[in-house]
């Protein structure tokens, strides 16, 4: 119930913000993401990931409020020797061997952020993303490949700051991607450190 309430508040916030007439700027940016598996993801892969990137656009609909969308990609991998039970209706038995485990997470989120500070200087921001995560997990052992690909609902609270960097803005932030489980899968959550650079479309194009 609390989750539903929070979602309604966020959606209302985005809709209200989108109707504002104070649009200043359109920012688009690129962040490099380093991630740490958390919660149930950590049971599947415990290695940190240095393979991640996000493309994002943010539009200031009020002096201190931005909304936008983002698309990311994070790749986790791990090697481990495991003994696993397999019972898939065709085969029932035990398989041992070196396992190559992977998780590819592609979050497609709508975001909203509150900013504090002067636009010409450093600013802090706090916000959240809300949307869909396409999560492709794979286990390879020997010549056996077990894929599990699903869409998940999730949200991503984020806290960070940005500051002027030439004619652009540099960004450092932390995100926690909470990805709900789906049809018996684990929740595939992970914490993320983002380092990026954002550009003003308005400043550059006109």
């Amino acid at each position: 119930m609390k989750t539903t309430y929070a979602i309604m508040v966020i959606v209302a916030m985005i809709l209200l913000a989108s109707t504002g007439a104070l649009a200043q700027d359109d920012l688009f940016g690129f962040t490099y993401n380093m991630s740490l598996p958390t919660l149930e993801t950590r049971d599947f892969i415990s290695n940190e990931s240095f393979r991640g990137a996000t493309l994002e656009g943010r539009n200031f609909v009020a002096p201190n409020l931005a909304v936008g969308i983002s698309v990311g990609w994070q790749v986790f991998d791990e090697q481990t020797f495991e003994t696993m039970n397999v019972n898939n209706g065709v085969f029932s038995g035990v398989v041992s061997g070196k396992q190559f485990r992977y998780v590819n997470s592609v979050p497609i989120l709508a975001n909203a952020y509150f900013y504090g500070g002067d636009q010409d200087g450093g600013r802090i921001f706090i916000g959240t993303g809300l949307g869909a995560y396409y999560v492709a997990s794979r286990v390879e052992v020997g010549r056996i490949v077990i894929d599990n690909n699903n869409w998940h609902f999730g949200f991503a609270p984020e806290f960070g700051f940005d500051f002027p960097f030439g004619d652009s803005r540099a960004l450092i932030s932390g995100t926690f991607n909470y990805v709900f489980n789906n049809e018996g899968t684990v929740n595939f959550s992970y914490a993320q450190l983002n380092i990026g650079i954002f550009y003003s479309i308005y400043e550059y194009m006109w």
């Binding site: 209706g89 085969f91 035990v94 398989v95 061997g97 190559f100 590819n104 960097f165 030439g166």
Partner: protein, 236 residues
């Protein structure tokens, strides 16, 4: 309209970042298998309706034949590809593990029929499933045929394998699979002329790559470790 601004530093940073990311995320599945050893797997399966307490003695062959490709019937039978030292390593490792699990080997199975027999072979075929429907035991020559009363015309049944498509649609084994099967000699299916397989161990990939002897030995040990129901010392 404002003049287009060409700030060099941020664009350079972005360009470097894009190039770096293209190197950092080369694929969805990085750091995958690189050597034949990475493909080694040990598969075991058993009939979970079986009470292994009813079996105590076993027979073991004295050689490990090569099972030819059934699609290539002209291939000569009993063509050995394994050195004697490897064959003896396989058989002695199996014997040690069976004995450690409380089983007793029957040295003269023709005189004293054992409760189960172990058949051991090395496949040359990509598809293990082929052996389910193929009389590969005949490749033991005189060891299996005519032994224990189950001679020509008898086959091996897998009543616990779901839908009769066991393995065939699940796994594809490359050349070099060591197969170990435990056959029930106490409860033959005389109507269908079959002795049923109670336990199957398949060690895939161990015959290629380097350090094969250690990998074979470790693989056989692992097959028994992951089959605790065979351990008569721990059964209630």
């Amino acid at each position: 309209m404002k003049e287009f601004k060409a700030s060099r530093l941020p664009m350079l940073v972005l360009a470097i970042a894009v190039v770096a990311m293209s190197a950092v995320i080369p694929s969805c599945y990085p750091n995958g298998p690189e050597s034949p050893e990475d493909f080694d797997i040990i598969v075991t399966a058993f009939d979970d309706d079986t009470d292994f307490n009813q079996f105590n003695t076993y027979a073991l062959p004295d050689s490990v034949p090569v099972v030819p490709d059934p699609e290539n019937p002209n291939q000569p039978k009993n063509q050995p590809v394994l050195p004697d030292s490897i064959q003896q390593l396989i058989l002695s490792t199996i014997e040690t593990n069976m004995n450690n699990y409380g089983w007793t080997r029957e040295i003269d199975p023709n005189t004293n029929p054992p409760d189960v027999t172990l058949v051991v072979g090395v496949s040359e075929n990509d598809e293990y499933g082929a052996y389910v429907s193929y009389d590969w035991y005949s490749y033991y020559g005189g060891w299996y045929v005519g032994w224990g009363g189950y001679g020509a015309g008898w086959g091996v049944g897998y009543p616990w394998a779901p839908s009769g498509i066991y393995y065939t649609q699940t796994y594809s084994y490359t050349v070099g699979t060591l197969l170990i099967e435990m056959l029930d000699l106490k409860n033959p299916d005389t109507q269908n002329m079959e002795v049923n397989a109670l336990w199957v161990g398949a060690l895939n990939g161990l015959m290629s790559g380097t350090n094969s002897e250690q990998r074979i030995s470790d693989g056989i040990v692992q097959a028994f470790i992951q089959s605790p129901y065979l351990n008569k010392n721990q059964q209630p």
